[in-house]
């Protein structure tokens, strides 16, 4: 079963200097009970992807083509806003990057956790009992007495875990996490990843995990997609991509500093050059201006090379493995 299937999704933002194509023909799917990681440097469209799925694109944004099929039968790209709102928080939940800001500063944690269950007709008491159970699951010590406390009385890591508890409260089918560990230090990050893994198994949901950390993706995700300038350049199982990356962009990311990748690097390795202006995309391969392997062929759009299984790279020269690059 597939929980989420994104097909040929394109999103444009209307700007004063013309339309900005933030996502172009993005396709991937999230199977049930699986974690899919999304990597790509800042500005490559990761947040736009999430917002398009959630129906929360900025006012100047528009889905120009494609489908977002959720649980087999609903196209989120065309769902009316009320139905979409009904799915958010119930079937699709989200955790954001900043644990400091994710909670309402003037309401107690218990009040917020009760509030998020507004769709259920449990009594206040039962809702609080569920909150306590959820807090216990995310390993907040002494949860009963902490319900009355306010967000500033918790540490950053705890706040992030509370946000996770709130997201998983209604046992959604899909959890979207937008760089949920970027603001945490390394030790807390490990703990949070372990926690997410356990909770996912426990609840039986799928996870769409956005991250800068290749190491975190390797640890948590079964499958991954690599995005560049609003396009999926490579996708496959995490194993396939870490061991046999074929797109030059992915290869560069992985080759940057292998020693540091296995440790946790707070930022995606930086590679030479910058993202193209998304209002004026290169006519051929979008990575061509930064690619060492580019040739005349690359001035026309590259095909999707199927490399066996689910592994796909969008490149004219996807036949050269990582080890061969420097040879």
């Amino acid at each position: 079963m597939t929980v989420l299937e994104v097909k040929n999704l394109s999103v444009a933002f209307h700007t004063e200097s013309g339309p900005l194509e933030a996502l172009k023909q993005v396709s991937f799917s999230v199977p049930a009970n699986r974690s899919v990681g999304v990597v790509g440097e800042s500005g490559c469209g990761k947040s736009t992807l999430i917002n398009a799925i959630l129906g929360l694109l900025a006012d100047n944004g528009e889905i120009t083509s494609g489908e977002i099929i959720f649980e087999g039968d609903k196209d989120l790209a065309r769902l009316d806003p009320t139905a979409m709102r009904g799915l958010r928080g119930l079937r699709i939940a989200t955790v954001f990057q900043d644990p400091m800001g994710a909670l309402n500063p003037v309401l107690s944690v218990g009040r917020q956790m009760r509030d998020i269950q507004y769709r259920s007709n449990l009594s206040k008491r039962d809702k609080d009992a569920r909150s306590v159970a959820m807090l216990r699951k995310v390993r907040i010590p002494d949860p009963e007495s902490r319900l009355t406390q306010f967000p500033h009385e918790f540490s950053g890591g705890m706040k992030q875990r509370i946000a996770i508890a709130m997201a998983l409260m209604m046992e959604p089918a899909l959890l979207i996490a937008d760089e949920p560990t970027t603001a945490l230090d390394a030790t807390l990050e490990v703990a949070t990843i372990e926690l997410l893994k356990d909770l996912q198994r426990d609840i039986g949901c799928s996870v769409l995990f956005i991250s800068h950390h290749l190491g975190v993706i390797a640890e948590l995700c079964d499958e991954m997609i690599v995005m560049y300038a609003g396009e999926v350049v490579e996708s496959g199982t995490t194993r396939e991509i870490f061991h046999d990356a074929r797109h030059p962009y992915t290869q560069k990311l992985l080759a940057c500093d292998p020693a540091r990748l296995s440790q946790r690097v707070a930022r995606l390795p930086t590679i030479a050059g910058t993202l193209p202006d998304l209002r004026r995309r290169p006519s051929g391969c979008v990575f061509q201006p930064r690619c060492d392997r580019a040739d005349a062929q690359c001035l026309t759009p590259p095909p999707s090379a199927v490399l066996g299984g689910s592994h796909i790279a969008h490149c004219w020269h996807a036949d050269i493995p990582l080890g061969a690059m420097n040879a």
Partner: protein, 279 residues
């Protein structure tokens, strides 16, 4: 919580004066009927223009009415209008401000235009126009107060709403399916109402002055309803031989204004130093 706040206020000299004055004024208005044995509108021609004495602590006016009694009952009117009109202004200002800040851009622009138009109208002209339309009455006073206050309140609320609209916890709430109404009620309003209440407590003296001013000019509450402004007016008419009437009308206005101002400023400095210098 309340006691801690009170103690913090009482530690500041201005705060202590303010809180004491406010309490005295409030209590004497509430318990007016217990504090005096006279009726506020009882005319006794025999006692016209009596100077202050043990019988009439603040003296009597040109109709022989006990001035202390009229001051106490006038306090009821003043505070009722000040608190009532301010509360109504707050509710209307909050609703309009939230709509302007969270609603569509065109609506925001329309509302801003209206706020500015109303605000640019001088208070006295506003009062005269409304009284011409509706006649002098309590409602005219409340309406003037609202038209004076609402645009400012709405603007502050609008700005804060705009800021909070993109706050992380509001985005999080949206991503979890909260409706616009729920976001405004649970995630935006509670975050802005504290500072707003402090600013508004500093507006109460303005409202007291508007009521007194309009009654002084005969545009406010109608006689025989006691009002500090009306007493002041009587006082000026008879200032040559009965100075105490002016004092009876003026003193409560001054004390109330000072009390609320000191109180509001102390609250502001204690709880929201960011607001310092605004009013």
């Amino acid at each position: 919580m309340i006691w801690r706040t009170v103690r913090r206020i009482m530690r500041e000299p201005l705060g202590a004066i303010g809180l004491t004055l406010v309490t005295v004024v409030e209590l004497s208005a509430v318990f007016a009927s217990g504090l005096t044995s006279y009726a506020p509108s009882k005319i006794s021609p025999a006692e016209r223009f009596a100077s202050p004495s043990l019988l009439h602590l603040l003296g009597t006016d040109h109709l022989g009415r006990d001035l202390l009694t009229r001051v106490l009952y006038g306090g009821r009117v003043a505070l009722l209008i000040a608190l009532g009109a301010t509360a109504v202004s707050l509710v209307v200002g909050v609703v309009l401000g939230l709509i302007a800040g969270y609603g569509p851009r065109w609506l925001d622009n329309v509302l801003l235009l209206i706020f500015d138009a109303v605000k640019s109208f001088p208070t006295v002209m506003l009062a005269l126009t409304l009284v011409t339309l509706f006649g002098p009455s309590l409602y005219a006073v409340v309406l003037v107060v609202m038209l004076v206050n609402v645009p400012g309140y709405a603007r502050i609320i609008r700005t804060q709403t705009l800021v909070l609209k993109s706050a992380e916890h509001v985005m999080a709430a949206r991503s979890m399916g909260a409706s616009a109404g729920r976001i405004l009620r649970v995630h935006i309003l509670p975050n802005i109402i504290g500072p707003i209440l402090i600013l508004i407590s500093m507006d109460i003296p303005v409202v007291v002055a508007i009521e007194a001013g309009m009654s002084f000019l005969g545009l406010g509450v109608r006689p025989p309803t006691p009002s500090w402004g009306a007493i002041l007016n009587d006082g000026f008419a008879n200032i040559r031989d009965s100075y105490w009437i002016v004092i009876a009308g003026g003193l409560p206005i001054v004390l109330t204004t000072l009390g609320f101002t000191f109180f509001g400023e102390t609250l502001r400095d204690l709880f929201d130093p960011r607001l310092k210098g605004r009013s």
